[in-house]
Amino acid sequence: MAGMDVMIPDLFELDQKLSTEETLIRDTVRDFVNDKFLPIVADHYEAGTFPMDLIAQVADMGLLGMHLEGYGCAGTSGLAYGVASRELERGDTGLRSLVSVQGSLAMFPIWKWGSEEQKQEWLPRMAAGEVIGCFGLTEPDHGSDPSSMKTTARRDGDDWIINGSKLWITNGTIAQVAIVWAQTDNGIRGFIVPTDTPGFEAREIKQKMSLRASATAALFFDDLRIPESLRLPDAIGIGAPLGCLTEARFGITFGVIGSAIACFEAARSYMGQREQFGRSLASFQLSQQKFADMLTDISNASLQSFRLAEMKAEGRATAVHVSMVKRHNVRAAIDTARTARSMLGANGISLEYPVIRHMMNLESVLTYEGTEEVHTLVLGQAVTGISAFRG
């Protein structure tokens, strides 16, 4: 199909704002995804497995904890983390989730609230991919309302005894360490739990129809005993895990743009090549409206994310900003994916094309890291000053 002479889908030339380092990081991740990941992702998706042998390469590039300073981390800008997330998720949400969970949910709390010894012990090995982490906040009975969690940590001399369970934990079955959030007599606290501790069990969640190329687990803690030295000393209250989520959501706002771009490009090339009624599918007005809507969605999402990155760099991005962009961008991406799905006709449901994979994955992204409804209520509260969460 004859293209326009503007860069599509980066209509507003936002990538031109990237520094040379950020551009090289983008290109490195893009090359890796094109060369190593895209050729194998459909098979892994069908089999319900994550390509474990890629983790070492992901770590070698420096993707794990890339935006953290020191302790073996690359110390890149937030914007670099954003565009890397976008390129990873152009491959698959599962790949981006592995990196998000490791960097923002498992390494970040240690980096932010851990003791110096904890940082020295865990972060370099996590950056190197020798230790994979997971983040246990959600429970079977407590999702959107994590502060009501039932998992408990009870002090016993110099130790803590943890009991309870967590559900929907990304990387749970492949992790060597879990950041577990639990109720104590003094409120919610965070613990660094090596997964080989007696009393720890991770069971894989089967029969998922979304994020199939990603390990998701249920975690069980049965009188699990760990020393006080594995408690995150500065993580006090529910604000600590929510702070991790704000970090991860920032990357997600960029990530889903990658999914949307993959779907948009697939639809553009498919419609440009296929004819019905003796004409290119791309020539029908209804198709063109779909392209216009998709391009607008992708552009709006990118504009919001790039501005969010600027405000984050200036230290002015709040949870409200992040809620708005997470809510907007995931909705934009899922709409784009569903539209692209329709444009590919029957091929739209085949894993031979990336579209159905992204469309199904985005259902998870709509739910995890704060559901769309929860972010709606955050914005509603910001506008009205009234919390609609509870009665």
Partner: protein, 253 residues
């Protein structure tokens, strides 16, 4: 071992190319990327240097732009870069390019020069051989495997039917094919550190070269003829016979 790797910054092949209508020179944007074929040369250089703690020096000629392409090669792990940027060199042919590169390489000193077989934007494919001649050392070309043992270099030279084993003493120039090694991805730490690696910039006259005339000019440019559509054979169960007939007509079976 002192290893010099020749690298070129080229317009991103993902974007459409354009030529200056007057001079027929390639328009070079501010952002140019590392020529993909040079990633192989850099990787060969890095692997050889790792054996005996040698150094890898990049040599590149062309407009600096934002230096993204050279920085990418530095991010892979090269130690330093020499960059020749001179408006007078615009549109220079292969031989002028080789003269400039040779002068820069001579000045910095070398045991081995590594280059790709040809650049993706120019496709002349003669610079490595010219370079060897100008440096007065042997050219080992089209290497799909490179080994250095002491002061001896041995390559497997790609041929139409297989490969030749070619050996020479160092110093030498070797040109490597894509696939000789698997180029590493730059690490993010490498990307951040590349900013502070030394890059020396020279003009042609700094290297003692005053005559930069290219000795060639592009007279006209025409589009490549489009390939004709192939013949479709519908398979009604006998399709394979038609294919065999076709192959026999072409005398390939």
């Amino acid at each position: 071992m002192n290893i010099v790797v020749c690298v070129k910054q080229i317009p991103d092949p993902a974007n459409p190319y354009s030529l200056d209508p007057e001079t027929h020179y390639l328009n070079r944007p501010h952002e140019q990327v590392l020529d993909d074929t040079d990633r192989y040369g850099v990787e060969v250089g890095l692997q050889l240097a790792a054996v005996d703690e040698g150094t890898v020096t990049l040599v590149s000629m062309g407009p600096a732009g934002n230096m993204q392409g050279v920085r990418q090669a530095l991010a892979m792990g090269a130690d330093k870069a020499i960059h020749i940027d001179d408006a007078g060199l615009k549109g220079s042919g292969a031989l002028t390019t080789a003269r400039i590169l040779a002068a820069a390489i001579q000045q910095t000193g070398f045991d081995l020069v590594v280059a790709g077989t040809e650049s993706t934007d120019g496709y002349t494919g003669v610079v490595p051989q010219q370079l060897a001649e100008l440096l007065g050392v042997p050219a080992l070309t089209f290497a799909k495997k490179v080994d250095v043992d002491g002061s001896t270099i041995t390559i497997n030279q790609q041929t139409a039917t297989g490969y030749n084993v070619v050996t020479s003493e160092l110093p030498a120039v070797v040109s490597v094919t894509a696939g000789v090694v698997e180029p590493r991805y730059p690490t993010f730490k490498g990307i951040m550190a590349a900013k502070s690696k030394p890059v020396e910039t020279y003009s042609a006259s700094d290297l003692g070269i005053t005559d930069t005339s290219s000795g060639q000019s592009t007279v006209s440019v025409t589009d490549a003829t489009e390939r004709e559509a192939g013949e479709k054979i519908e398979d009604d169960g006998e399709g394979h016979l038609r294919i065999v007939e076709k192959l026999q007509e072409l005398k390939v079976v």
